[in-house]
């Protein structure tokens, strides 16, 4: 099959192996690849290695002990709570918003898109401060909250709110282009066949976006667990009560407890690595589905 590389069934872009016509000289290639590798090593692999090296510097048992500190456990618990609340909420909101934006025309659509992007464009510290100004003791709603004995700032609700705000765009941003690309025809077909709105959504729209959705959720979760700036402002850094893992790491580090700090940090690094593996698996899986579909495209041209 000499033509296999030039034929392009199903319109899927294929990367061709370099030929004499498109290749650079060996020296240029070596320099480019070398630069890229050096960059990766210095900025990614080296720091990652240092995290684990420092965490295990005094042996496995010290590592293990520092993870079992009550304050460390409390930080982990709080991080999980924040993620468990923020991710599902943003999942529901993200799907709903992306559905509306991708499939329908309405007044204020571009405003909604801008609002969804807001957490990306605002510094996390500023978004944390907004919550302090709103819900803090001197804030707009402070007196009312105090009267009703509700504490949001320097407590778990504030941390959850800040996390939700910061991770707000991930799912929606991932799905909007998908919904837009798919158009409305399949949904219209389902409706014409007698399906209700919910049936159409769960049986037609949702299966078509499942990989994109999973991808968005993974990124959303990673950010929810790793968020520092916004959470730092609203948390108050009360040990064992309002410290999430990133905040706990900072405190430990500032107290020169390097092993403990890096031990907790290694957990976040592991989370990042796991996220990357799952993300690649999801990407691989969805690509394989597309490729499988494309492979069949050229065959069976009989009517």
């Amino acid at each position: 099959m000499a033509t296999a590389d030039t034929i392009n069934p199903g319109g899927i872009m294929r990367i061709r192996p370099a030929t004499a016509a498109t290749a650079e000289s060996g020296l240029v290639r070596g320099a480019l690849i070398g630069t890229a590798l050096l960059f990766l090593v210095v900025f990614i692999f080296l720091p990652l290695g240092v995290v684990f090296a420092q965490a295990l510097a005094k042996g496995l048992s010290t590592y293990w002990d520092s993870l079992r500190q009550p304050d460390a456990l409390a930080a982990m618990r709080l991080t999980l709570i924040a993620a468990v609340i923020a991710v599902p909420l943003n999942l529901v909101f993200g799907v709903a918003a992306a559905w509306a934006i991708g499939k329908f025309e309405f007044v204020g659509k571009s405003l909604l898109i801008t609002l969804i992007d807001l957490p990306f464009s605002v510094s996390p510290v500023v978004s944390g401060l907004i919550y302090v100004l709103l819900f803090g003791a001197q804030g707009w709603l402070g007196p009312w909250l105090m009267k009703h004995d509700l504490q949001i700032i320097f407590a778990v609700p504030g941390i959850v709110l800040a996390t939700i705000f910061v991770t707000f765009p991930f799912v929606a941003r991932e799905l909007i282009p998908l919904f837009q690309a798919q158009g409305q025809e399949e949904e219209e077909a389902a409706l014409a066949l007698g399906a209700s709105g919910w049936q159409t959504f769960f049986r037609v729209s949702l299966p078509n976006i499942k990989w994109g959705l999973l991808y968005g959720v993974i990124l959303c979760n990673a950010r929810a667990m790793g968020e520092f700036g916004a959470v730092s402002v609203v948390s108050g850094h009360i040990r064992g009560r309002t410290n999430t893992m990133p905040l706990h790491i900072e405190i430990l580090y500032n107290e020169y407890q390097f092993v403990a700090a890096f031990a907790v940090a290694s957990l976040l690094a592991l989370l990042a690595l796991t996220t990357l593996v799952v993300k690649s698996a999801v990407e691989w899986k969805s690509r394989r589905q597309v490729a499988k579909a494309a492979r069949w495209d050229g065959e069976e041209q009989t009517v």
């Binding site: 399949e186 219209e188 077909a189 389902a190 409706l191 066949l193 399906a195 299966p207 494309a294 069976e300």
Partner: protein
């Protein structure tokens, strides 16, 4: 089930897609909505389907006003130009979808669904491909699956939006004959949208020719082709030469100058002669000859400079032995006259 559209107007922003359109479709008929893009034919189809709602006017099914009824309650089968098959479902599940989403008390048993789907697969001659995904099918196969999916819910009306528009020419031809056969067997009231006049004339019982949001003419293929009501219809159905002319004592002659009268002539109704034979004629020069195909297509330049298309049989062409740049006489055998619109 009969369909009646009454005085339908639909605007999209500033654009008027349909303006006071009325159309009656008797039960069991296969009607083509024919027109160029932007003529409103798809909008009319979607309004009948309930996928769009008219700004004013009404849609009746069997005399019942269903203008405000939702798509899912209209019992229409809709076939989309780009198939709109559910890409994550097999062929079997695509066809079964309409039965599976029925409310529990109206839903057939799995056994019944399987029988029904296999019947339909047989009808579309794709029994062996039930477990394939849409992406594993050719365009023609996909469109047949889309048709089977629409028929599975036993619709009272079948609506097809440019059903063969994205298929290559040969497949399109086969599929439209197949659609005609299918309609002769099932006899379901069907409306299909097309911009291809051959397709409309070949497949349908009646054709509604649309232009700029209005229906220009409704009639059998024979009527609209041979007795076009407006210049647009004449122009749209087949190739045409446009001249200025004058009618005196029931005799139409072609003139060089603007006479306020438009005269149309089909290319195959113009004859080429070497010598004037006494009939009304005009002089022309042969500019281009294309003899590949069943008819020889000749482009000539009339003496006043306009280009004229003539078609003749291969035999006639062989007899005449025409060559490029030869001076000839063109005799119109049949001319169609329309008064020029005022303004």
């Amino acid at each position: 089930m009969s369909i009646e559209a009454q005085h339908i107007t639909k605007k999209f922003g500033q654009f008027t897609a349909l303006e006071d359109v009325s159309l009656q479709i008797p039960s069991g008929e296969l009607v083509a909505l024919l027109g160029p893009s932007g003529s409103g034919k798809t909008t009319l189809l979607r309004i009948i389907a309930g996928l769009e709602f008219p700004d004013s006017g009404a849609v009746h099914f069997d005399g019942e006003d269903i203008t405000h009824r939702k798509t899912r309650d209209r019992r229409v089968g809709f076939v989309f130009q780009h198939y709109a098959l559910f890409r994550h479902m097999t062929v079997f599940e695509n066809i079964a979808f309409g039965l599976r989403v029925r409310p529990r008390n109206a839903r057939p048993s799995n056994e019944r669904i399987r029988t029904k789907v296999h019947e339909l697969l047989k009808l579309i001659q794709l029994q062996t491909l039930a477990s394939r995904y849409p992406s594993q099918l050719s365009g023609g196969q996909r469109q047949r699956v889309a048709l089977a999916r629409a028929l599975a819910v036993e619709p009272s009306v079948l609506l097809l939006d440019e059903p063969f528009g994205s298929l290559d020419a040969k497949v399109r031809l086969e599929l439209r004959r197949w659609l005609r056969q299918l309609h002769d067997e099932v006899h379901i009231t069907s409306v299909f949208v097309t911009h291809d006049q051959d397709e409309a004339l070949e497949v349908s019982d009646r054709v509604a020719v649309m232009n700029e949001g209005r229906i220009e003419q409704v009639g059998t293929p024979d009527q609209v082709y041979h007795y076009p009501a407006t210049p647009f219809v004449y122009n749209f159905l087949g190739n045409v030469n446009l001249f200025h002319g004058r009618t005196e004592e029931e005799r139409t002659t072609i003139h060089e100058a603007d006479t306020g009268e438009l005269v149309y002539a089909r290319p195959h109704l113009l004859e080429i002669h070497r010598q004037p034979n006494g009939d009304s004629h005009f002089r022309a020069t042969i500019k281009h000859i294309n003899s590949a195909g069943p008819l020889v297509k000749i482009e000539a330049e009339a003496e006043w400079g306009v280009s004229v298309r003539v078609e003749m049989s291969q035999e006639k062409f062989r007899d005449l032995q025409l060559v490029r740049n030869e001076a000839v006489f063109i005799v119109p055998k049949e001319l169609k006259v329309f008064q020029k619109k005022v303004g």
